[in-house]
Symmetry: D3
Subunit: 67 residues, 6 copies
């Protein structure tokens, strides 16, 4: 029954990678806490780099500087 929300920047994650992530997190919750995979929900949000800030700057600005 767990609910997991993963936020990443929108930078080209493929459907296959997202499917792997869903599977991996679901089975981690089963293995560590005994949670039932059938009712584990995982939602992935892909966020534009203009809308994600770290260190007081947006990721767009950081990427432009080469970080």
């Amino acid at each position: 029954m767990p609910y997991v929300n993963i936020k990443i920047t929108r930078e080209g994650a493929t459907a296959e990678q997202k499917a792997e992530l869903v599977k991996g997190v679901t089975y981690l919750l089963r293995d560590i806490l005994g949670k039932d995979p059938q009712t584990t929900v995982v939602i992935i949000d892909e966020v534009e780099t203009d809308n994600w800030g770290i260190g007081g700057e947006t990721v767009t600005v950081r990427r432009a500087r080469g970080q």
Copy 2:
């Protein structure tokens, strides 16, 4: 003053259905808890089926199998 966030898969909910949902949830909070509708906020997120997982699989994969 409540805040409600509803996440559903992006599969064709209309503006009218979303308006009904906003109204329904707002008045439920008034009827059950006496919350003021004027300051109740409801935000609906529509999530791509590639980005929603349940049972260790994405909804895209489940739909492809006919679930």
Copy 3:
């Protein structure tokens, strides 16, 4: 399969009221969008009035002023 998060101030909602809210929101999603109640998740967060702000003030301060 919807996921709903409801945030209210912690001001004495009873277990019965919370159960009514869970039921009400779940069936609203079935009636308006045809969502399956069996996989609808509703999580209620009760937030201390010191930690909830509106109009630039915390609810604690507003309540002290009689609002």
Copy 4:
């Protein structure tokens, strides 16, 4: 290490305004709570006006009425 999520309606905020918001919130957390800007994360979600409700109505409907 704080995490901040800001939700606004999608109504034309520019990349510059969003960058200012990221910077402003990050330094507010440093000034008030001594939090390290380097590890402060700020995520901005821009929400369609059909998907944002207040007062039991969507913002789309309110804007159409001139509110």
Copy 5:
């Protein structure tokens, strides 16, 4: 730089299990998407069973019926 929020019912997860979960999710994001573990944030919310609903009922009610 990913941000992960895991919500589980408050039913006795230990500090060790939560530490394992943090580690597991962080390295999953590195292995699948190449994300830097140093800036991956994982927040676990433990939610009272009165405040978690599924199938139109709270978990408290389901547990009382033996589910």
Copy 6:
């Protein structure tokens, strides 16, 4: 009408500091984006250090090592 959620570790923020944070964020949104302070909601979550992970470890473990 913005909604802001701030998550910090539970490490002694006072009611006064939280009130300052609510005020600061609310007026930042007014100054940068012209948002109405009266309908801006700010919710602060204070998270136990056992439940906050960064760099693959919980904050509890990092603090114990002196970080």
